[in-house]
């Protein structure tokens, strides 16, 4: 063993040591990259929704909207906002699969007397969406991110009927389909041609499709038809019912998502679907293994059942009192 060979071996050993260090750094970098997207903040006041949360002042760049066919949520009052980063626009070239810009955030506030929850979705750089829900303090001055598993029975909607705060997996149950994570913000739901009989419709319309177009916040909408989107039905009641199924069932029961093999196309519900006794059966029960939707409510939607009964019997439907 000569001195020169020893020098080579020493050199090789030092190089090996540096290589291990490089390997460890690569590993840390890979882990750091995998750790992004950025997790939603702990407090609602940190999300940018409120200019002044204690005074309930919404930030000017968060736009109020109201889908014409709201989801049934046990009678909770709801308000919704969308934030689109400045200079960005929604790509609506695929009608059933709008592409939202990175950084888009949608919020939905639920109130039972007082504000209870504000839920949020945010589009991440890698195309995925982050979900969070914020539970309001009783004094209404701040809302705090709920635990990942949610909170069952946060309070009572009415005696014996709990309000459950969803966990991450509950968010994903409805919003986790890669083909359509955003629900309730679409051409039909924001159409200026609003259905006067839509069950539980909220009084103020907010941002509509024509506003989005005028503000340059949407691109690629097919402009062939002069009419705004609407359910074209034989009667007002049929229109309202088919719109209801679109909103309450179509998020899962459609031709594009993970449950397409079930063969139910309730995003484009027909009059024949309305006559299917399975629809009425699932709407009329809150038995956990039978109710539809499978989560999110403990109370039957009596208004839609009454409308369905009236339509089937050919009776004049009552105009919705929730205006």
């Amino acid at each position: 063993m000569t001195v020169r060979n020893l020098r080579y071996i020493l050199f090789a050993s030092i190089t090996f040591g540096f290589a291990c260090l490089l390997g460890a750094m690569l590993l840390a970098a890979a882990r750091a990259m995998a750790a992004s997207p950025v997790a939603p903040p702990e407090l609602l006041s940190q999300t940018g929704l409120y200019a002044d949360i204690a005074r309930g002042e919404i930030a000017a760049d968060h736009l109020f909207y109201s889908p014409q066919y709201p989801l049934w949520s046990d009678g909770a009052s709801k308000r919704r906002w969308i934030y689109l980063p400045a200079g960005t626009a929604i790509d609506a070239s695929r009608p059933d699969r709008w592409e939202f810009p990175v950084g888009t955030r949608l919020y939905k506030e639920f109130a039972l007397g007082r504000r209870v929850e504000t839920r949020m979705l945010e589009r991440q750089a890698d195309g995925s969406w982050a979900f969070a829900t914020y539970v309001w303090d009783e004094d209404g001055r701040e809302a705090r991110r709920a635990p990942a598993r949610g909170r069952r029975g946060l309070l009572e909607v009415e005696p014996g009927v709990p309000w459950d705060v969803p966990g991450q997996y509950e968010c994903l149950a409805c919003h986790g389909d890669r083909s359509a994570p955003v629900l309730g913000f679409s051409a039909l739901q924001l159409s200026p041609d609003r259905d006067p009989l839509a069950p539980h419709a909220e009084p103020a319309a907010g941002l509509l499709l024509d506003d989005l177009i005028a503000q340059g916040r949407i691109r690629g909408l097919l402009g062939a038809s002069p009419d705004w989107p609407a359910v074209r039905a034989a009667s007002a009641a049929e229109r309202a019912l088919r719109g209801y199924l679109h909103a309450n069932c179509g998020g899962c029961h459609n031709a594009a998502g993970s449950l397409r093999d079930l063969g139910l196309r309730l995003d484009r519900a027909t009059a024949t679907d309305l006559l299917d006794p399975r629809i009425a059966e699932r709407l009329a029960t809150r038995e956990p293994a039978r109710q539809m939707p499978p989560l999110g409510t403990h109370l039957v939607d009596a208004e839609v059942l009454a409308l369905l009964g009236a339509w089937r019997d050919g009776r004049e439907p009552q105009i919705s009192l929730h205006r």
């Binding site: 090789a12 090996f16 291990c20 460890a24 890979a30 997996y169 993970s258 293994a289 039978r290």
Partner: protein
Amino acid sequence: MHTLRFPAVLLTLALVVIGTGPGRSVDTLTWPAAARAGTADDAVERGAYLVAAMGCGDCHTPLKMGANGPERDAQHFLAGHPASLEMPDAPELGAGPWMGVMSATMTAWSGPWGVAFAANLTPDPATGLGAWSEDEFVATVRSGRHRGRGREILPPMPMTILDSLTDDDLSAVFAYLQSLPPVVNAVPSPRPPRV
């Protein structure tokens, strides 16, 4: 002696490549090596081991009476509650510490949740898991909901056992289940609790 220079340089290069190894294959450092689903065959083998060890067949393969006492019905391996076995209403237990009743096949379970029937885990597309994707299987386990989106999986299915598995192990379980012979067996829908 310069003839050693070349081998020394080669040794150095080899050591550099080996040294950066841990940074290149991230996931080998996260799970134990034995659990890694390497080739497709490894996954199926690992899945078979896990399914045997977790005892899935205890509820999902019907028990039948053989010549020497109760035995598993191999024709219905992991195929769930036999469709041909009509179950009458379970006996009422009333208030008290006894909570549940099971069928002799150990595939139908009556309790406060109503009646649950063990699912067909074979890859038959119409009556088993043949139409499911791996994502849906994992979503079912992690969320406790049917296909990650529907009704909750009912007791007595011990979801916490499956949920404690790593993603790789769940993937192996699914690969094994998908490799089984498909059995056509339309397990009945669960029954609600009697009022």
